[in-house]
Amino acid sequence: MTTLLDILSWVLLTLGGLSVLVGGIGALRMPDLYTRMHAASVTDSMGAILILVGIMLQAGWSLATIKLLAVLLFLLLTSPTSSNALASAALLAGTRPSGEQHKINDEGEE
């Protein structure tokens, strides 16, 4: 039973690490803000779920599991919310998805 759990958490942790890494590469390589945000936020949630559940399986039934559950819950609440807030701020400020050739600099001017 423990070996089974170990293998399962192994798989989850590896997949989590992989998806975190993919998100990082996506955030670096994607062509414009919105695609970067997509890459970052989706893998953020995915990676967080996989990694934290993986650790939970290792921790077993203890206070640590409850805390990990709380961390996961709050991450799942806040991370997409910040992405949403950021995307709407960028859209209101006039950043357009690429294809439309708008460039925006640090002053928020085109």
Binding site: G16, G17, V20, R36, A48, S82, A89, G108
Partner: protein, 93 residues
């Protein structure tokens, strides 16, 4: 096993830092800070177990709760800036 996750998280932190340095727009930098925050939560949780002291998960919990405030402050800052610019433009007319 934890090492693999830690290394993946650290490399991603490096990538996010590169994004923060490259920009080009402020929103990219805010995005990078946000990413960095989530990665820190994951890193702290994993390292708490790597050290065998799971009682230190409080730290990850603190970041999971508080990181949000920074992004909202940025949002408020942008909103105020936009308002100020529009009033300045009105006064210019």
């Amino acid at each position: 096993m934890y090492y693999v996750v830690t290394i993946a998280t650290l490399v991603t932190m490096g990538l996010a830092l590169i994004r923060a340095l490259l920009g080009p727009s402020v929103y990219d930098r805010v995005l990078a800070v946000n990413m960095f925050g989530t990665k820190t939560v994951l890193l702290l949780s994993v390292i708490a177990f790597l050290y065998g002291r799971p009682d230190f998960l409080d730290l990850a919990l603190a970041y999971a709760l508080i990181n949000f405030i920074g992004v909202l402050a940025v949002l408020e800052f942008f909103r105020n800036r936009a308002l100020r610019r529009s009033t300045e433009r009105d006064e210019g007319l």
